[in-house]
């Protein structure tokens, strides 16, 4: 297990280098292509990007992620990227954690209910809904919610929730709803499918024959067996949610990582992009690592299989 974690950590470090290189290279290329007469060819750009990468890490390891310019016009000033990352990181992760929590809670519960009632129309309705949920682009959900909210305001004269902006109160509801939609659908689907599979097994029938209550069977026999697939689905959901994060933040004016990163890319602000991208990438990879470890703790078969594979 220790070796496994070490190897993963080494790989994560390598990916960080790759992220920095890709971002510097991409941004250098794009600056190059904006100018009327490109100054460097691809190889030259790659060489400079490699130099930048080395320089960046030598400074980053000393805690210096560079500076970025914030604000517009006369009031703009230089701010350390670390400050920006700190500010935006909390806001994004709070939103993300909240959304995923909601998604996990409702998704898994919905999946369980549908699996238990898998012979009723409820399951069909649920599955159709999840397919709809997975197919809904985040921007469409955002638009629908906002338009709905405005319609509400026009009809009843008061707002249910704010339609944009930042705040750890009702402001979070609309962005979180949008961010929740796809993970929730995904989790409900996976929970349903894997539980459905488990509930068809002989040992469940045996357990029922033994006289265990439905709840007991679910808790002790069925759910634990489905846990790995559900955890995997959480990982996938995290990817979905992270993918929609910039869009949602941008649209609802949520001053988080994603929206700031979008601005950074658009302004070709390399140090800002690097800081934020690293923060985002590291978070994602570390959570995945945690999930990987969790699978092994839950499922002894996996532990063994991986031990031998390692």
């Amino acid at each position: 297990m220790g070796r496994f974690v070490l190897r993963r950590l080494a790989f994560i470090a390598a990916v960080c280098v790759a992220i920095v290189f890709f971002c510097t290279f991409g941004l250098r290329m794009s600056v190059n292509s904006i100018s009327a007469r490109p100054r460097y060819d691809v190889l030259e750009t790659a060489r400079y990007a490699a130099q930048d990468t080395v320089r960046y890490f030598s400074r980053a390891l000393r805690g210096d992620l560079g500076q970025t310019r914030q604000g517009t016009g006369a009031s703009s000033r230089w701010v350390p990227v670390t400050t920006v990352v700190r500010d935006t990181y909390g806001k994004s992760m709070g939103l993300l954690a909240f959304s995923l929590f909601i998604a996990a809670l409702f998704g898994v519960v919905a999946g369980i209910i549908a699996a238990v009632r898998r012979h009723s129309p409820l399951a069909i309705i649920m599955l159709t809904l999840t397919l709809l949920g997975i197919s809904t682009p985040s921007f469409f959900a955002a638009l629908l919610l906002q338009v709905g909210e405005i319609q509400w305001l026009r009809t009843f004269g008061f707002r249910l929730v704010p339609v944009g902006g930042f705040g750890w109160d009702s402001h979070i509801i609309l962005p979180a709803l949008v961010l929740t939609a796809r993970p929730l659908a995904q989790l409900a689907r996976v929970t349903y499918m894997s539980l459905n599979d488990t509930l068809e097994q002989d040992y469940i029938r045996t357990a029922a024959a033994k006289g265990l209550s439905r709840l007991q069977i679910l808790r002790t026999h069925a759910f634990r067996n489905s846990a790995v697939s559900i955890l995997t689905a959480v990982g996938v959901s995290l990817r979905f949610a992270l993918g929609s994060l910039p869009v949602v933040e941008y649209y609802f004016n949520w001053p988080g990582l994603g929206a700031t990163l979008l601005d950074g890319i658009r302004n070709r602000d390399t140090s800002l992009v690097l800081g934020l991208a690293l923060a985002l990438g590291l978070t994602f990879m570390l959570i995945n690592l945690a999930l990987d470890i969790a699978y092994r703790l839950i499922d002894p078969r996996l532990r063994e299989a991986n031990m031998t594979a390692e």
Partner: protein, 937 residues
Amino acid sequence: MADSYDVDREQQIATALRLGIAAAKAGRRAAAQRHLQQVLQLDPNNVSALLWLAGLLTDPWESLEYVQRALAVEPGNERALAALKWVQQRLGEGDIPPSALAFTAAPAVAESGKEEEITPAPATATPHRVPARAGVRPARMPVEAPRGARSGRFAWRVVLRNGPFLVGLVIVLALLFLALFGPRLATYNPYLTSGQTLEMIGGKLVGPPFPPGEKYPLGTDQWGRDIYSTLLWGARNTLTACLFVTMARLLIGLTLGALAGWYEGKLIDRVVMGLIEMMTSLPLLLVGMIAIFALDIRRGIGVFIIALCFVGWGEIAQYVRSEFMTLRQRPFVEGARVIGLNDLEMIVRHLLPNVLPSLVVLALLEMGAVLMILGELGFVGVFIGGGSTTETLSGNETFATIPEWGAMLAGARRYARSTPWMVFYPALAIFVSVLGFNFLSEGLRRIIRETGVNTAALLSTRMILVVALISGVTYYIVENVGPAKSYANLALRFDEERVREDIRVLCDEEHLDRRVGKEGAQAAADYIAAQFQAAGLEWAGKGQSYFQPWETRVAYPLEQPELALLDADGQVVTRFQHQVDFGERLTRHGGSGTAQAPLLFVGFSRQSYDYAAFRGLDLRGRIVLYFADNAPTAFDSEALIRGAEGILIIDEEARAMNQLVAGGVYMEQPSLPIFHITPAAANRLLEPAGLRVDELRARIEKAQEEEEEWFTQEVDSQVRMSLVMGPVEEVTAYNVLGMMPGADVTMNDELIIISAHYDNLGIDPDGTAFVGANDNAASVALLLEIARLWSEQEFRPHRSVLFAVWAGGQMPYSGVHAYFDNPLIYASSMETVAVFQLDRLGRGGGALLVDGDRNLIDLLRRSADTVGVTVAEEGGARLPYQNLWERRASTLLLSRERPATSYLLDDTADKLDLVGMSKAGQAINLALITIGREVHY
């Protein structure tokens, strides 16, 4: 021998049967079926094999057939009777295994239990578990028994009960239809930015965006472009991009996934997996955005395809890899290796067919995913082409120039609250499409699972058909899509009737004499200006008008100029045609006068001489003949001084030049008739003396070799020249200039000039009319037509385009000279990047003759290819101002007729080839549209 043969056969049967049963028990259907079929080939009446096969088949009708065959061999066989009951039960249940979920998502796992019930081997009645993998079934062996209508009906029922499949299929077919025919259904042109348009809505005059209403069913965007039409047009661009990204991802994912799976654990596997993990560590949206910017968003659709397939192939690769890892351990791979197939053959012939059906499912899912990412990118302002920037009251604003769904979402954050229709419909379109692809994928997965699609057949016939269909559709779309192609839709129009009308007007009585200073020229200028006005061009002349007036001095003959060859008695042998064979020149001493004298040819070996060098040259009583390109400048003055009666200059262009350039006022100076004559006319003059132009040329070369200063050659021909000029007139000529200002602030200080001259040779004193329908009314009409087409389609170029029609284009000091000598206000602040010079486009062969700047020629060549016009790189006639252009900007000279003078007399409107002209016009229009829009052309 016979015995041993039989033993062999028995052994083979036994082995095959054992293998088959073992495979069936292990759940390897394909292998089992193959072995059992082998048994039946050797022994068609083997009851065990028949019954095992019956148990393995998914189609109950086929099973029934095998059971009946077994019963025919052994009517009382108990196992066969049991099997019959089982099959009948299956048939009774309906064709589809009963499922509580008519609409399940991916319950491959869930239904594996049901499969157990339907696939027990009746011989042993011990249920075996078929390892169910999401959607993939081992290949089924083709069965000899006729299938026919029964199995067809079977498949149809599966399809018809499949809700998601049907819904998805309808949506996807609708999308295909839109991609193919969407633009034809559109009611407005989505390229149009009718920003100025105001509409009366509810009694109030309002500007765009207009809400949905009668005129615009889904409203318009902030520039007044119809949302409904843009959606229809956008379907093609968006879905093409989507299709290409998906195909590229499939290709990359399949290749890398197959390699990784086949060489599991080896270096390549680790590299591929590492790459996938790296790619997934950052959200695709951000990686894609950086990649798109890096490749330069302005390059259009290709950048998106490359950027999005470069980062998104991971999922497919992972799937293929895991499939290959399992398939690799199957016995049939072992078998294939034994018969000596190499890795590649094994992968292509045995592994790929097993993965393909699921790949179709995955591809559809990918389509949805790509569409979603395109939408998200558009939503945050990254869309195909990147749009262009324009100046508005509220600062610079970017707007999309290529109709595309993602681009339509670009203004979402700003407009969603106040004018939701602008972004709601495109978002809905993307949602419905994603839903369609996902549903279809889901449905297809179920069909594959339920029927166990015969992958061998898939590979051979159906697959080829599908691939052919997809390629065909793709080809069509590619041919008709893309920035250049979508411009082609704008350019592939040309109203021959309107062009005919222009030419008719310019050549009618009133406009017949379009020489500088004549009434007809004035009328023609007015007519052209009126057309500019109608086309909505802005004034680009002096003051608030289309006209740029300039002064010049001209003199026209009062009597018909005469040039004739006489015989010894002074009788006219040959009379030459004014303008065609010869024309007068008023430079320096050219002017009125009559001369009748023998010819004397003068040849030179240098370009410049001092006065003393002509010592001994006696031209008294002679008409001097020399080559225009051979004589030193101002030799006509020298000839006058040395007593010449008249001068004939052999020149390619022999038309009259009636302009007096600075200093040359012939009335105040001694003058003599100076005519330019064509080489053909010169030959006829030389004929009585037994000489030819070539011989004279040869003589000059000889003189140059011998370093002879000059020489004279007596020509024994009597020639009469006569010219009576009218008074010198101070006249005003009018260039007609109309501007189409560029819509993009970053590009509109670059100027493109499309120009033609409108003067002709007018009417001779004897009444001969040189209509000049081809030279150059046709080119003017073509230019006007382009202006009209742009205005009709409300096409706005990004660079500014100047439509220039010059007065006095054929004069030594032309309208172009005047344009440069008295620059208009805008001209000094703009950089002229390209000049399209149109000349004699009404007649000639099929090819468009081009000459000039390399880049522009290439551009025109591409445009001409799209339209279907051939391009020949040879110069047409060079106009006097050509050098002036070429010193200042990239120039493209376009013509169709090779320079020839003989047609001048019959250059009338009815001789024009309007079909060829329309083709040429389309090519030129497309090139202009492209250069007007594209940053790089």
